[in-house]
């Protein structure tokens, strides 16, 4: 039943693409996020779905779509450079086979992020891609949120639609994305035109935001809690009644604590006592190893270079017997531990050139969204209300990602690369519509030529 439903849905979406090829771009976003070929094991799993939708999206744009208004921005150039550099490090990787496996999905995500902004030529397209990203992630989040509310959570044990720890189906990554899309949900509910403002839309948005809040609880991902905290503080910047917001937030938090499962509060307490926590100690040891590694290999070791690490770290365990507490410390040896941080992942795999490119890409996104916010926030005309809030939502989502990436190896997360694509699209779209009128632009372009031509004419005379 699920198989047939998903199959019909995907086929319907592809069929609608024949009327409007942009729908194929949306179909790719959906397939990349939900991975319906993994949810359904029969019909969709038997065809190379991802390849088909990418070919349709790119072919549709190349052959049918109007290119007027498509611009190539410098952040897309940064993505191109990163793509080429990753390709190079894959060729000279420490672990060629494993590197080739990771390259096989990273290049697609990068290429799509470079391609997506070229298609985002209208306001509606920017809204549509945001909506599809949110609703696709919602398919995973709603089911996870309900299961958590019914008591089905636990670290690494929350059963999501697909049980394979890839993409958004990995607990910590999903927790980060769930928090990151909350600002986008709010924007869609307030400024959406596909589903315009209506009480049903507000109700759905509220329920979805609540499900998003449930995900960090259900997956017991500590990074998720950190992301939530950061979002709560950042939201203060645009909150109109700040005092009320802080009071309500504190009240909601106090009300929520008794309902949190004990396993959750126990796990969150390990944030403080990280010395006894193996996961935290391993991270510190791996990061130290990466720092040393990149000293010897400044150009990086290619994808999955962490497989070469051998780490030794101290672990302290407090044993309480009666009123006395005894701290025992022991050394643990480990090998081939993953980076557990997007920043160190980038540094170890792509070296300094890769990390600099990547950081530039991230920082320029935050900067561009801030500029849009400043440029549009005081405008009051019709059709001028949605720009600043969208830039703000995209910026918040980006900050949440950067916080999440501190502790999760998500340097090439396709969902976030898509988000970067939307940022590039919004930037280039607003730059275009906000430019001086074309006749004035032409005048300005012609003027130097005319000035240059004048002496020649004088000489002829």
């Amino acid at each position: 039943m699920t198989d047939y439903g998903l199959f019909l849905f995907v086929m319907g979406l592809l069929a609608l693409g024949f009327r409007r090829p942009f729908l194929w771009v949306l179909a790719y976003c959906y397939v990349d996020i939900v991975a319906p070929q993994q949810v359904s094991w029969h019909l969709l799993a038997s065809i190379p779905l991802s390849l088909i939708v990418f070919a349709a999206a790119f072919g549709g744009w190349l052959l049918v779509d109007d290119k007027q208004g498509s611009r190539f921005t410098y952040r897309q150039a940064l993505l191109c450079l990163l793509l080429v550099y990753c390709g190079y490090t894959t060729l000279v990787a420490d672990f060629p086979e494993e590197a080739a496996t990771k390259w096989s999905w990273v290049w697609k995500a990068l290429v799509f992020a470079i391609f997506l902004p070229l298609t985002l030529r209208t306001r509606l397209r920017i809204e549509a891609v945001t909506l599809v990203m949110v609703l696709s992630a919602a398919a995973i989040i709603i089911s996870g949120g309900i299961k958590t509310a019914l008591g089905g959570g636990g670290y690494g044990s929350l059963a999501l639609l697909v049980d394979n720890n890839t993409g958004l189906y990995e607990g910590s990554t999903l927790a980060m994305v769930a928090v990151a899309i909350i600002p986008l949900i709010v924007w869609l509910a307030r400024h959406g035109t596909i589903f315009p403002k209506h009480w049903t839309v507000t109700l759905f948005a509220l329920a979805l935001a609540f499900a998003c809040l449930m995900i960090p609880v259900g997956t017991e991902a500590r990074t998720g809690l950190l992301c939530l905290g950061v979002l709560a503080v950042l939201a203060l910047r645009t909150a109109r009644r700040r005092f009320l917001y802080v009071m309500l937030g504190a009240l909601a938090l106090l009300a929520a604590i008794p309902f949190l499962p004990k396993s959750y509060t126990d796990r969150m307490n390990t944030i403080e006592s990280h010395q006894s926590d193996e996961s935290a100690s391993t991270r510190l040891a791996v990061w130290a190893w990466t720092w040393d590694y990149v000293g010897e290999h400044p150009l990086g070791g290619g994808f999955d270079a962490y497989r070469g690490n051998k780490i030794r770290y101290q672990r302290k365990v407090t044993e309480v017997s009666g009123s006395a507490a005894e701290i025992e410390s022991s050394y643990v040896e480990d090998a081939g531990r993953a980076y557990h941080s997007g920043y160190f992942e980038m540094l170890g795999e792509q070296g300094w050139p890769g990390l600099i490119l990547w950081l530039w890409l991230q920082a320029s996104g935050l900067w561009q969204m801030e500029r849009i916010r400043w440029r549009w926030k005081h405008r009051t005309g019709p059709g001028e209300q949605w720009q600043a809030p969208l830039a703000n939502a995209l910026q918040l989502a980006h900050v949440i990602y950067l916080v999440g990436a501190l502790f999760i190896g998500i340097a090439y997360q396709p969902f976030i690369l898509m988000l970067i694509g939307v940022q590039c699209g919004l930037w280039s779209y607003l730059k275009r519509i906000d430019a001086p009128a074309p006749d004035r632009r032409i005048d300005r372009a012609r003027r130097p030529a005319m000035v240059a031509a004048a002496p020649e004419r004088a000489a002829e005379a």
Binding site: F9, R20, R121, R123, L124, V132
Partner: protein, 48 residues
Amino acid sequence: MVDLFALALTHGLLALAAWRLVQRADLDRDPGGEDEDRPRFRKPAPRD
């Protein structure tokens, strides 16, 4: 059951969104043409 509900709800909304999108002319071209100074939309965006 929960999975089925989440899939049905989100896919239903995605399908409705796709259906609404194919019927809107401003998907491919902003109203008023590409060379306009400012975006003008059929429905003005709701004010905050």
